[in-house]
């Protein structure tokens, strides 16, 4: 009798679980379904199957689903990979900006997640609210970051410009390179830099395997610095981030990190 009731419950629970619009509810519903199924197996005198279903189907599967979808309280960072600032090394992420962002996330009680994407997608994702912060060698030149907002900057740098057509330096500024940093690196190695890039900033070039020819390029006037991109609607986030970086500067910790990662 109990067996029949349990059996009849199975389709009902399955339908309810799979019609949920929230993923978490659906996952928990299917976890419940698995437990019911384990009970059915027990009633059907299959104890081994019941144990396996309960441990794998109900517990392990639900656990990995929940780990996979957990999104609450996280800081999403999208970045182009730039060695020294934010890059993968073996299976870890290292760099100055990573240290800053991790410290910021911990101070705010958030999980930090970093995705590496090409530069133009960094801008797009931050502008469309798909990510909280853009990072990885962002230099906010006037007009270059238009729909977005940027922090004042945490590492000073110089910006060089050159014209692709005749290879001669020019003070005119063209849009930044918008592919992957790694492609840039391989182009520099093959001497194809000037044919594909019209303006570059210093540290990007410096971190390009050291051999890239830079003679004869013009350094742009004015002070430039690496900064983080945030959406214009996220004034609170920007305020908190700026405050955190300022506190790092005051305590001298930022200089220590810069010394460790960049110089």
């Amino acid at each position: 009798m109990a067996g029949h009731v349990l059996l009849a419950l199975l389709p009902i629970v399955a339908v309810v679980a799979l019609t949920q619009s929230r993923r978490l509810s659906a996952i928990i519903g299917m976890g419940l379904f698995s437990f019911l199924l384990a009970a059915v197996y027990l009633v059907m005198r299959a104890p081994d199957v019941a144990i396996t279903e309960a441990t794998i189907g109900a517990a392990l599967v639900t656990a990995i689903y929940i780990l996979a979808i957990r999104r609450t309280g996280r800081l999403t960072v999208v970045a182009d990979e730039v060695p020294g600032l934010l890059a993968r090394e073996a299976d870890r992420i290292v760099g100055l900006e990573y240290d800053i962002l991790r410290g910021f996330a911990i101070s705010q009680g958030l999980d930090l997640s970093v995705s590496f994407v090409p530069l133009r997608r960094v801008r797009w994702l931050v502008a469309h609210g798909e990510a909280d912060i853009g990072a990885g060698g962002i230099v906010p030149l006037t007009g270059a970051i238009d729909p977005l907002d940027a922090t004042p900057g945490h590492l000073e740098t110089g910006v060089y410009a050159f014209d692709a057509r005749d290879g001669r330096p020019t003070s005119e500024l063209a849009p930044d390179y918008d592919g992957y940093f790694s492609e840039l690196q391989s182009k520099a190695r093959n001497g194809l830099l000037s044919s594909s890039v019209t303006s570059l900033d210093l540290a990007r070039v410096l971190s390009l395997s050291r051999g890239a020819p830079l003679e004869g390029l013009d350094r742009l006037d004015g002070r430039h610095g690496y900064a983080f991109l945030v959406s214009k609607d996220r004034a609170d986030l920007k305020r908190d981030l700026v405050r955190y970086v300022e506190s790092l500067q005051r305590s001298g910790e930022l200089d220590a990190w810069i010394a460790r990662h960049v110089r």
Partner: protein
Amino acid sequence: MATIVSFVLLGIGILALVLRRDLVIKLLALGLINASSILFLVSIGNRPGGRAPIQFPGETAVLVDPLPQALVLSAIVVNFAILALALVFVMILVERYHTTDAQRIEQEMSRETDEEETPCL
């Protein structure tokens, strides 16, 4: 009874797989489809009045058929393996497209056709 329920569960699973657009829910539906086949196999071995297939020397009670149960143990593990890997692949897709909607992913992909695809070898 259990057999029919397993068929119904299979149907529910297929419907959810076809009609729900969220990839995570699709994977849950796939889990249901797999579970339905396991319920079916267990129900085959079941027989009225049979006891769980644990027998000590000298006992002669009627037992349920142990073979489907042994088969099912392997099937459960295989299904788990498939699910874990599928979930990882969904996570990779989401990293790129920032959505779990299967149709939106397919649209984005056809929009990107002009983008260069470097062969791996």
